[in-house]
Symmetry: C2
Subunit: 81 residues, 2 copies
Amino acid sequence: MRATVLVRPKPGILDPQGAAVESSLRQLGFPVGDARVGRVVDLEVEATDPTVARSEVERMCEQLLANPLIESYEIELEDGR
Amino acid sequence: MRATVLVRPKPGILDPQGAAVESSLRQLGFPVGDARVGRVVDLEVEATDPTVARSEVERMCEQLLANPLIESYEIELEDGR
């Protein structure tokens, strides 16, 4: 099963990359605000049951994909959220 | 309107970060495959019309957010795709 994980800086956490993107977009003439930059990780997991797959991906997030202190994560599964 | 942009390495393009994530997850005991790492950018755009907002964000992607040669992008709008 294909899983997609979105990892974002938590609200209130400084995001220099987001600030740089926002500033650059404004210089290009796009009046954007509140830009935040995170990561997207796509991967193939062995589990075919969505509940099992989600729980496995949650463990990957806690152990490696995200820093739970400063980042939040969101998990999407290919079929059946 | 809030927009979310997912920027991913195109198929066939080398993704060292994805390879590193996959290898680390396997070392942790997660039998994952085909991991790819990209970026997620959230931002606030002024346009309230979804068609206008999407077209503006597309221009941001072409000019700054993605490298169209090696990356694909996907745009999601807060209300009404």
